[in-house]
Symmetry: C2
Subunit: 504 residues, 2 copies
């Protein structure tokens, strides 16, 4: 690993985030909550540290495949720390662990909160929570690839490490163009949703915050009652629609909507499966709730079921109802959907529909093998044969996933948390959803968990957002054997400069 | 599928089981519980139906690979039904579903019971419960291959379908000899344990019942307090030892003990992993229980922890303590161990240690791939490269396993069972363990579950015992497309006989 080059990029990303740290200031001034100073100070610290890193370490043109993992993990850790500063300085949270939890939950679009009442936070700080979602949803590194030529590396490595997914859609020959298209679609949808929400009576502030949280499949709201606060069918329908959109592959949006080929949606096997799964889950929940008389009317049941299913499957985590009060079968179904997640290439977390389809096709193939012993089977998705590496990669993914799930649950319950809370808190963070069941249910929060449990859950959020491999690779000894000493800039060590010039 | 030939074998197996139905009669006479009539009548029905099937259908020498699946599943369903008759006629159970549940739980060595107090059953009926364990543990079809040449098929197909496992150890060139060796080792260990338990003060009846349940990794006891009833450290240690033995590959016992090469144990990677995993789990549970002051002394904690870990990992399900009262981390650990199961080729259920090792090696390989992009990786167990089919088969197994787990849990909770009970009852039956948590915890029973839930759990037990594929294959439409009409014996349809002679 080329430590110097990696730290140089981290510096640049810190400066980019510092710019975003200034965005809540207009709201702070408008609402007069006195947070402007804090945002400016946090941004200043970001500029300071980022600038120092850029000055201290040379950029490295030869950053490789491996360095991509280090850049991404280190950046996410660092950016989440910078993003936690406004919470810390505001004095509304007890400890730096809580602030880091909230910040990481934002960037990873998890949406788990340690706050019992979000309304106690200044409004501009709640806006910052929404901004962290939005930046983390499509990926701040992907954004930097789209807007800044300054990273100095090809970008493919970083792009792959931050948007790992089982499939790679290269929309344009140059990585920068692909990143631009994805962020373009993302910004466009955000603006459309903001506009539609404002039509529903929300002010710009609420509309923007909820659009950020929806498109990023985050789940932070500006109200403790989440989207249920607005008590408006129109708003709920808009949010359902855009959560569903956010859980779809963004390349598919580009091909379908922007290229005016709407049939592309239905021709995509993953999208078909994703839609059918939503409808099936809604059906089961409606029947179970009607049977148990949990809701008042059929219309309300249907709307609530749709909202909750789409919110969970896309790993958004918005709530309009406390599903912890629903019949057991609904809870099991929702917990199962937590694992599914959105489509590959969406902003949703979880295992991803693509992997689930492949998984199911595998078992069907295996059964066919047993019936017709000599049948040669291939697995196809969208009539394209799935390459062998993808299949092996998916087996590895599942095994890592289960290993992380079990280990994290063991540690969290070892801190004394009960079994349902412990298990579902890990599931909810590893899949970047937000709420779990029992003590971390939709009407509860993560604030009362022990510090160690919070740290484990922070790790789960990051591992989930980066789809395990990127984080796991950094935990192998092999990776660190290859790390090199950082190359400082010449004015610290003149000899090094001469060396590097000779090698160049 | 050759339906006639399959039904002919079923007939032979029913007769074999009818012979075993006579074994509790000596105990019935000794204890004077008046059950002799019932056992004789049940056996008579078995002879009658079995005899009719043999007379009605011709044996088929050409039974193939596919027919093996049908023979095994049909036989297990039929034998469990015959085994349920004594419960039903005794009048101690409410419904035929309860009887079938108890019988299937016996044959599949699950050990889940619908009885709150087992002592209310006549002693000879409790002996029959233990016999069903013992027959199901090594497999009644494997037994029939060992002792009867009458099945008329090569046996390899049946052997594979009843002992599916990821590995095949052919101990002798002829399948009949392999089956004999395995059953021989099994009988020997049973006799040794019975003797050791009698040394500990148990009478022949209790010793035999517990030896049957231990070696089969079943879990039925003749007392509601399970092995805890004897309140003897010696008895517990003997049971721990033999549960551990039963969870080990029986081929390994043959190679090690009977061939006097004890080092073979430690040279086996699966055995090493299995032993280490037990020790790790015991360590965690001892620390957690000492920390929470759940047990009185260190010695008691250690003994209870060892007993419970080995009981769960081998999927026996014997209890000496109500682990539902333990700290959450212990419960999570025990539930995780429920999935592991014993070694391949043991009588234990679950996923099997072999598959878990392969699973973990896969993720390690995948991580190595990501660090050294061009590294060519192979997975070895015991320094032998794992063939590709085994790897693909394991991915298929996991995907089926999760599909069954989720579907079954959804149906069970849909009947109104709470989430912890529903989830752990499926886990406990699919892995052939016995007790779950909450309403089906070690101190509770399955009696109060709704009928539909019991039926789903019966399916889970069978699917788990036959390691999914055998049952799943029968549920594919492809399989049934190949079914042929049965060939009846000539005196029913003389024309058929002539036909079959022509074809022969």
């Amino acid at each position: 690993m080329r430590t110097g080059g990696v730290l140089n990029i981290l510096g640049k990303l810190l400066i980019l985030l510092s710019l975003f740290l200034l965005t809540p200031i207009p709201f702070s001034i408008y609402f007069g909550d006195g947070m402007s100073r804090i945002f400016i100070f946090s941004a200043f610290l970001g500029f300071l540290v980022g600038g120092s890193l850029i000055i201290a370490f040379l950029p490295d043109k030869e950053l490789g495949y491996r360095d991509g993992f280090a850049v991404v993990v280190l950046s996410w850790l660092g950016l989440a720390f910078l993003g936690a500063l406004p919470y810390y300085f505001s004095g509304h949270m007890n400890s730096i662990v809580d602030c880091y939890f909230e910040s990481m939950s934002g960037f990873t679009t998890t949406g788990s909160t340690i706050l019992a009442q979000v309304e106690i936070l200044p409004k501009s700080l709640l806006f910052w929570r929404a901004v962290t979602h939005w930046l983390g949803g499509m990926g701040i590194i992907v954004l930097s690839l789209a807007v800044l030529p300054l990273l100095g590396v090809g970008g493919m490595q970083l792009f792959q490490a931050e948007m790992p997914g089982p499939t790679k859609d290269r929309l344009a020959p140059r990585m920068q163009d692909t990143a631009r298209i994805l962020w373009g679609v993302y910004v466009l949808f955000t603006l459309v949703e903001t506009f539609l929400l404002m039509l529903g009576g929300l002010d710009l502030y609420d509309a923007l915050c909820h659009a950020f949280a929806t498109l990023a499949t985050g789940g932070f709201s500006t109200h403790s009652a989440s989207v249920g606060y607005f008590n408006s069918t129109y708003v709920e329908v808009v949010v359902i629609l855009f959560m569903f959109i956010a859980g779809t592959n963004f390349s598919l949006h580009y091909q379908s909507v922007l290229n005016k080929r709407p049939s592309a949606y239905w021709r995509n096997e993953e999208f078909r499966y994703y839609s059918k799964l939503c409808c099936f889950a809604v059906g089961v929940i409606v029947i179970a709730n009607l049977f148990h008389h949990t809701c008042d009317s059929f219309g309300e049941t249907l709307r609530t079921a749709f909202f909750q299913v789409v919110s969970i499957i896309t790993t958004t985590g918005f709530g309009t109802a406390d599903f912890d009060q629903w019949p057991p079968v609904c809870k099991v179904l929702l917990v199962s959907l937590m694992f599914v997640g959105g489509c590959a290439g969406s902003t949703g977390g979880g295992i991803k529909v693509f992997r689930i389809i492949l998984f199911l096709k595998y078992s069907r193939l295996q059964l066919r093998h047993l019936v017709h012993t000599r049948a040669v089977g291939t697995i196809k998705i969208d009539n394209v044969k799935v390459p062998n590496e993808v299949k092996i990669g998916i087996l590895g993914f599942f095994s890592l996933y289960i290993a992380v799930l079990v280990t994290a649950t063991l540690i969290v319950t070892a801190t004394g948390v009960d079994i349902v809370t412990g298990t579902t808190s890990v599931i909810a963070t590893l899949n970047n959803i937000g709420p779990g069941l029992h003590l971390v249910g939709p009407a509860q929060n993560f604030g009362d968990l022990p510090g160690l449990a919070k740290c484990v859950l922070i790790f789960c959020m990051l591992a989930g957002r980066l789809e395990l491999y990127t984080v796991a690779v950094l935990m192998t000894p092999d990776f660190w054997k290859m790390a090199r000493k950082p190359v400082f800039r010449s004015y610290f060590y003149p000899v090094k400069k001469i060396e590097s010039k000779i090698h160049a």
